[in-house]
């Protein structure tokens, strides 16, 4: 398997840190970053809306090319800012400005609740380690992100997602997580938390769609 250049990935984050761009690395499943990211995959980055212009100028200045999103055109609802896709050599960067998911209806993309969006930036975690990126989502926000992505975007819980969710659940504050889940799953929240606790990943989506206690 061909991997992206580690040196270039490190340089990407070093440059973003140096430029003071307010960003969060959304996911690093299977610890692929920085040295084992396949050239077929991309880096998922969340950039604060207020830094959009600054980020774009910075990327162009550093030789990144803005290219058409590989998923093509899809509808964005409720004021969701369209995703942007950048490429430099073989590294691909998928950038969003709000935490979003696809609707079960026609697969339109739309942002999660405003409170979730605001909390992301207040609760982002500084990662003081040897990795080049500075910020990741808080434990609760990352669980929310991985679960919404599994339920709404991928329609299944895949192995890397399950592994990471279980890792995060060891340190999660269930009260905070439930408050966040309520903004997405409403009265299904308690069932969702229980399903995660009992690792019932195979039945979550069907149970959720069939849920009628509301």
């Amino acid at each position: 398997m061909e991997y992206c250049s580690e040196k270039e990935i490190v340089s990407l984050f070093d440059n973003l840190n140096e430029a003071g761009v307010n960003y969060i690395l959304l996911r690093n499943l299977d610890c692929e970053l920085p040295s084992k990211l396949s050239v077929n995959k991309d880096i998922d980055l969340l950039v604060n809306e207020s830094d959009e212009l600054k980020f774009e100028k910075h990327m162009i200045k550093n030789g990144w090319e803005k290219v058409k999103h590989p998923l093509g055109h899809f509808p964005y609802l409720y004021g969701l800012k369209p995703f942007k896709f950048y490429q430099k050599n073989k590294i691909k960067l998928d950038v969003c400005f709000q935490l979003a998911c696809r609707s079960l209806n026609k697969g339109e993309w739309f942002p999660l609740d405003m409170k979730i969006q605001l909390d992301l930036w207040l609760n982002k975690q500084f990662v003081d380690n040897k990795n080049p990126w500075n910020y990741i989502l808080s434990v609760e926000d990352e669980v929310l992100h991985l679960v919404t992505r599994s339920v709404f975007d991928k329609n299944r819980f895949t192995e890397p997602y399950i592994t990471r969710i279980e890792e995060l659940l060891n340190n999660v504050n269930f009260k905070i997580l439930s408050d966040k889940f309520e903004l997405v799953f409403f009265k299904y929240t308690a069932y969702m938390v229980n399903a995660l606790k009992s690792k019932d990943y195979n039945n979550i989506i069907v149970d959720y769609i069939k849920f009628k206690d509301y």
């Binding site: 709404f152 903004l183 997405v184 409403f186 509301y214």
Partner: protein
């Protein structure tokens, strides 16, 4: 607050040109949108409301033979505008081999055929290309293939008619108007047996289908093919222009 889990149960235009939509917002509420109004209901309230509407629907049909439980609700939605012309309903036995369905005919244009040539029956026997390519409304997240599997297993396990719902024919014709999956499953299971069907009789044979579907469909089908061809050529032309721009940049 926005709910990503919205399942559209109904989305139709009203006679006045407005919208009538019913959405299931999972975990939250059922929303009924009628033009600029929105009514929020719990699932329990929605079921009560549906029962009430069902009662209204029955009382509007002045025909003692009409039993709403004999029809698939989504079929009733498709034919609601025909109901005022309904004159009578009868039950009769027909051989499955006499029933007629639409299928892919010469040059891919739809034509009538015997049930034995049905895309559903073909799918039940392993040849599912025509069925998978067919455009139809299914349950939420159900593929054409899954629908064939689901209906056939219900017919095999529960028999026919299950839930009191019958295969429906109109007037003096033998075209299946609803129930092709059930008919094909029965044919696959029992061969050419006699089954009970429901016949809806409309004033002056209204809503009869043309006997020659192929002739009726050939012009629109070719129009669509030509349109698709033009789009393909246009897209290729656009790609060529893009390549030209890159080369001469």
């Amino acid at each position: 607050m926005s709910n990503p889990a919205v399942i559209m149960l109904t989305d139709v235009s009203t006679k006045s040109g407005g919208r009538f939509k019913i959405e299931d917002n999972i975990g939250e509420a059922i929303h009924i949108h009628y033009d600029n109004f929105r009514i929020d209901l719990t699932i329990k309230e929605f079921f009560e409301f549906a029962e009430l509407i069902e009662g209204c629907f029955i009382s509007l049909i002045d025909n003692p033979d009409f039993n709403i439980n004999n029809y698939d609700p989504s079929f009733l939605l498709d034919i609601y505008y025909m109901i005022p012309d309904l004159e009578g309903i009868s039950f009769e036995k027909v051989f499955l081999s006499e029933l007629i369905v639409a299928r892919k005919g010469v040059l891919g244009v739809p034509s009538w055929g015997k049930l034995s040539q049905s895309r559903v029956l073909k799918a039940l026997n392993g040849d599912d290309k025509e069925n998978n390519d067919y455009l139809q409304k299914n349950f939420f997240r159900q593929s054409n293939k899954e629908r064939v599997e689901s209906v056939s297993s219900m017919v095999y396990e529960l028999g026919y008619p299950f839930n009191d719902e019958y295969i429906v024919l109109f007037n003096n014709q033998k075209f299946i108007r609803d129930g092709q999956h059930r008919a094909a499953s029965l044919y696959n299971k029992n061969g050419d047996a006699e089954v009970e069907v429901l016949r809806m009789i409309f004033t002056n044979n209204k809503y009869n289908l043309s006997d020659n579907l192929w002739l009726k469909s050939v012009a629109p089908a070719f129009k669509q093919k030509i349109y698709n061809l033009i789009i393909r050529v246009y897209k290729k032309f656009k790609i060529l222009q893009k390549i030209k721009r890159i080369i001469f940049r």
